[in-house]
Each structure stands twice: as C-alpha cells, then as structure tokens.
Symmetry: C2
C-alpha cells in the first residue's frame, strides 16, 4: 500500500481529554511512516477540510504532541457543523474529495460525538458513493456519554469526577455554614438530554462519607411537591442539603425549567440558569438560605482534575483508531468494552459506524432511584470506575502548563474559496 497522508479533526463541544485522543492518533501515525505520511489537522473541524485550511502537524515537536495528553480543549479548533446528505449537497462532498486529492489524503479520523459520527460515516462512504478511496475511522468523544455500543465516552469520566468532587467539597462547605447561614447548595450541571452528568453528582456521597444529595434528572419530569418534601426532609435530618440539577430538567409538559419567561427590569427576556430557579423555589417554599453555582464550561475543561481512567481511554482510543485504519477497517469506531466493574478492567472493541451515527444512548431506567431523585447501586457500579485515578498536568508558576501548538497552515493547492 502506498504511503498516504491522513486527516484528523475535532468536532462538537470539546472536553478535557479530546486532545489525549489527538495525541494517540498523532503518535501512532508517527510510528508508521511506511503507511502514513503527514497528518493534516482540520482547523476548526470539518470546516478545515472544506475550506482547505489544514494544519501541518509534522511541524510540531514530539514534546508538543505528547503535551496534548495533558491539555484540555481542542488544540486544532472544533466546530458545530454537520455534513448534509449526499443527495442534496453533493458539492460539499466533491469539495472534500478535491481537498483530499490535492493533499494526497487517504485516511480520515474524526473525533466527536453522535453528529460527528454521522459526518464520519458519510466520508467513509465516499469510496462507494463517489469513487474516492478513503479509510474513515471515528474517534469517540462526548461529555454527554450518549454514544451507543461503547461502554462509556471519553470526556465523560473527567466531567463526572469534577462534578462528584465539586459536590463533595461544596457539601462540606454548606455543612459548616448551616447552623446560622446557608442550608442549601444548588449546582447546575450539563446534560440537556440525558442525566449521566447529574448522576455523577450522586457519587459525591459514598458509604464512608454519606452526604445528603438530591438530584434532578432530565429523564424525570419535575415534581415540585415531591422535590420540596425531599429537600425539606434532608435539611431537617442533616441540617443541610445539596441539589444537583441538570440543565435539561423539564416540567410535565416537556418545557425546560430554565425557560420560565424571566424578564429583566425593561421586560426583555432573560436567559438564566435553572440553578437559581430551583434555589429561589426552595427559599420561597421552605425558607432556607441558599447558594447556587453553575459549572458550565468549567466542568468539561477541568483537565487539572481529569480522571486517569478517562485520560487513558481517550489516548488508547486515538491509538486504536489509527491501528484500525492501518488494518484496513473503514467506517468503524473503536469502543470501550467493560470486562469487570471491580476491580475495573476494560479493553478496546470495534463498532460499525452505521450502528453509531445518530443513535443516542439513554441512561438505563434502573440507574435512577424509585423516587426519581437519586441514583441506584447499579448506577454507582457503572459510574464508580470512570472517575478512578488522578492524572495531574505539569505546573508552571502555579498554573497548569498546557500546550498551545504552532498550528502552521499547509500551503493551499486549490483555487477559489468554498463557502460553508
């Protein structure tokens, strides 16, 4: 097989470990100069391919590439952009082929979630649909943990660890203040469609250090009376309570609680978080003094406290993607296969992209406790291994020493611009 160049890009919301997957891809590709020439990264995901805005990763030192393993965010830029269908948007695909041809690209690695798997699937079909030979492998990534087949998704374990630790720390804080001040702490976490991240808040409470925690899942329609009764019971019994609320929590009619028609002094619509809404509700109905936090990007960017399990898996999946491609597999995604909960063990598996693209994995019903406000032992068994281990980045002057690549552009070979 002739030496071909490879394309790699990052897609969708970034995570604290997506660069660890990039590191796996780039290091493994460099180990196979007999098969892979240069790896060109797309600047801002697939947009980089469409606009022929490619980054020459061969110009980065091996130290810089290694440092990706401890650097959060997307080192080459990401995008929220999904390829449309071949039938209606053939020009897009022809453009991709033009760019791939111009730069002798025979491998396509796309690092993202469900939407991105769909893009990767479409590219993997270019051989059959438009006659351009390419091997496309998807590298899974999403804090939402909602990809099918794989046991878990890189990015999720570190968010889970961050949220579990944050809820534990804040709960200790509230417990100290409860006598004369704050009795209730509310934290809003990501997960608009699934409660995986909210569930991780439940890990803050453990057998050796139980904490009063109430969780509001997007899967469970908000029942105000039941929720308030539970919070009240917790505060009366323990003196305080922490509430983990998913940004996606909805009322019985399927409306987001965060979308409650807030208006500012001038009557303009105001986008608030759901945490202050829940906190205010508790104060109004129960009279408890509260504090609230919205973690937002902090949770998915917190490489400083990433889960070692997550970092290891993200890196391994990047390596595996290249190995799959080199072994001739097209239109696949390496997965995590769980071998055992405790002691935790896992290995790499393979899924067909057609089984992954646009399929959303929901949280199993038996992961949410009967009252709808907590997690079950089954959920705990699943989540626990994913937050295991710390993988601290190096520090410099008190700050994590994250790498910024040179990201030098590959000279363009095509004429004209492509409008996206």
């Amino acid at each position: 097989m002739a030496v071909k160049n490879a394309f790699y890009a990052q897609s969708g919301g970034v995570t604290s470990v997506i660069n660890a997957s990039a590191c796996g891809v780039l290091e493994t590709a460099r180990d196979h100069p007999d098969k892979i020439g240069k790896v060109y990264a797309g600047r801002n995901g697939i947009i980089g391919a469409l606009q022929e805005d490619l980054i020459d990763t061969s110009l980065e030192s091996s130290d810089a590439i290694a440092a990706l393993k401890h650097t959060p965010s997307g080192a080459f830029g990401s995008c929220r952009y999904k390829l449309k269908g071949l039938d209606t948007h053939k020009a897009q695909y022809e453009r991709l082929i033009d760019v791939f041809k111009a730069h002798d690209i025979g491998y396509f690695f796309y690092n993202g979630g469900g939407d991105s798997a769909d893009t990767c699937l479409k590219v993997s079909q270019l051989s059959s649909s438009l006659g351009y030979p390419i091997t496309a492998v998807h590298v899974p990534k999403t804090v939402d943990n909602d990809l099918p087949i794989t046991d878990c998704c890189p990015g999720f374990g570190s968010v889970a660890k961050y949220i579990a630790i944050s809820v534990k720390e804040a709960s200790f804080d509230v417990a100290s203040m409860a006598k004369t001040s704050t009795k209730l702490f509310v934290i809003e976490v990501m997960g608009r469609h699934a409660g995986w991240i909210a569930a991780a808040g439940g890990l803050a409470s453990s057998e050796d250090c139980p904490l009063p925690i109430v969780i509001l899942f997007p899967e469970v329609p908000f029942d105000e009376a039941k929720f308030l009764a539970k919070v009240d019971e917790m505060v009366k019994r323990h003196g305080y309570c922490s509430v983990v609320v998913s940004e996606g929590v909805q009322d019985r009619d399927g409306r987001f609680l965060s979308d409650q028609g807030l208006r500012d002094a001038f009557g303009h619509a105001q986008l608030g978080g759901v945490a202050p809404i829940i906190a205010n509700l508790c104060r109004e109905k129960l009279g408890y003094k509260f504090h609230w936090a919205v973690a937002d990007y902090l949770q998915r960017a917190a490489r400083h406290i990433a889960s070692k399990t997550d970092v290891d898996q993200a890196y391994a999946l990047g390596c595996a993607a290249v190995e799959l491609a080199l072994s001739g597999k097209n239109s696949v995604m390496p997965t995590i296969v769980r071998k055992s909960d405790s002691p935790y063990s896992w290995e790499i598996g393979v899924a067909e992209l057609k089984d992954v693209a646009n399929v959303e994995k929901k949280m199993p019903e038996n992961f949410i406790s009967e009252d709808g406000l907590g997690i079950t032992e089954a959920c705990r068994r699943y989540l626990q291994p994913l937050i295991l281990g710390e993988d601290y980045p190096p520090y410099r002057n008190g700050l994590p020493d994250y790498v910024r690549l040179k990201n030098i552009a590959v000279p363009k070979k095509l004429e004209g611009e492509f409008q996206i």
Copy 2:
C-alpha cells in the same frame, strides 16, 4: 503557669484551608501538655461557647487531626455571629466567662476574618473588663484577602489559584469553539467589596500563554460602553474573550449590577447572578454567542487544587497562634510578612488585634490597569507567589479522602440554656 484548657473556633465563611490552621493549632497545643490541657472546639464558632456546646478534640486521633490539613470547610462548624458591645450586651460576656470558668479555659483561639477579629478582641479584653484571665489570639482567615497588616490571608491564595486555573481552562475551551459557536465566556467570582479574587482571574493570562481576559472589579463603576468596546476589540483580535466579573460590581450610582429587578413569569423578584446579566448584555449589544458560569462555593471549597503556599501559611499561622499565646501575648494575630516577591519568601509576624478588627484592606489603586478592566504588573507580582505549588489531598475511589471528625461533645457543666 498552671495548665489551662484552650478554646478554638471557626468563624464566618469557611475556606479550603481553614482546617489547615485548625490542624496547626491542635498539633501545636498537643506538643505543650505542660501548658495546654485539652483543646475544646466551639461547635459552630462562638455560638458553641455561648451555648456550652464544646467539642473534645482530645478524642480525635492524631491521624484525624493531621487529615484536617487536606480537608476543606470548617470541621467544627462555623457561624455568622458577631459579639455585640460589652456596654449593651454584658450578659453575653458573663456567659462566656461562666463557660470558660466551668471548663477551665485559659486560651482562646478564634479563626476568622475582620468581624471575627473584633469578637476575638472583645474576648481578649475580658481580663481587664471583667477580671477573667484569658489569652486570646486571632488566627486570620478570609478568601476576601481584606485583613490589614498581614500581607495576605489564608484561604485567598487557594481561591486565586482555582479562579486562575478555571479561567485558563475555560478560555482554552472557548478558543476551540469560537469559529462556529461560543465567542464569549463570563465567570462570576466572589468578592462583594474588593476585587482581589476577580484580579486573580487575570493571572490566567501569562507571558508564555497570553489570553484575552477582561475583568470587572467592584472598585470600578461599570462603564457599559467602555466594557463592550473592550470585549468587542478582544473578540475581533483573538476570536474570543473571557470576562471575569466580581459579584460586587456596581453601576455609577453604587447599585449592584446583580440587583436589576429581575422578575419571573409571575412577577416575583428573581435573584440571579451578575454573570448572566453581563453575558446577555454582550449578546444583545455585540451579538456574540456566550456561555457563563457562577463558581460560588466551588471556588472557596476547592481543596483538590489548593495552593501549597496557602496551605503552608494557614498551617503555620495556626501553629504561630498557639506559640504566641504560650509566650504570653494577648490580643494579637500572627501575620504573613513578605520578604521577597521572587523567589518568594515569607515569615510570620505579629499584629495587635486593635489594629486589625473592623479594618478592611482595599486593593491598591495601582493594581488595576488604567482602563479599569485588567490587572497591572504590580498586581501580578503580588498575586503570583500566592498561587504557587500544588498540595493534593489523598484520594480514595476517585474522590478526595476528606476527614470528618467524630466531634464528640464535652459534657455540659452549666444549668440552663443561653439564647443567642
């Protein structure tokens, strides 16, 4: 001198290192059984003394006491309660003396901020005012960094480190997303009266890794036009921007920006944070897609990423407080004296409590840049050493292994209840 028991309590908002000071006090006291008998901790601060709700710390193992050094929050409970003047509330002081007498307490260590220093000062005057011999030493603590005389306050350095790291991590995230999505990240930080914590957000940007950051200080009246122009310039030049906004930022008339008369769908007043207000303003006026976070308790509880400098100083000040008391000093507070910025060096000094109580240290004017939206080199020189070093807690099953003490009550000796 006869052996006397000691009283120790935590006061005001807790921090990630106040227990390190407790550890210093308790360990040092245990080293002097010839002078200090038992250390009784007040359950929930001074309230524990008033209500004779004392905790016998001698029943805690030395391992448990040592573990306080890596455990956030207030291990004995804190309170927001300030002793009133002796002239108007003599009964309170007589009650304190009754409790101290009943439990043979001759040393009083109070761990808190400015208000607490005032309480400690009043207790230190019991010898002269009411004839009860007691030695009272204050142990400084406040994330607000606003105590006078001491170069810095334990608790602040760790919040500063957390905010600097969080802003760096979120900035990397936004930079990745900016091409097709989020261009602006707003984070709200603590500091209602002083911008020390907001200033720490500026540390996220360094010479080797510059980042576009705009800071809104409580010291600088909010100038909408100037702020928007700066954000716009940053986004146009760098593609994205991070905004650090102090919860205490005010308009020209001295009104908190967070107090903008938000109303929910039913017309009820809604307490939102200032972060969404700033974020919405930028979207409305500049059109940029945003994300926002409110760190709240997470920032002051984040022992998982505490500054080693801060932990060391908190512990040393606890030790020094006991040593000062044993050397016969009354009505004092150990302080941090900075000897050199770089390489950073410091030593313990002493301040008179009368010079500390109710005095608020403001941020120097030359710490805020001329445009009012950033920090100066002088500020950076001051802040930089305070975030140096990491002091990771031990982990167990993926979570920090924080200690919870047994907190066994000392049998009451007095009749009747004291109403606070």
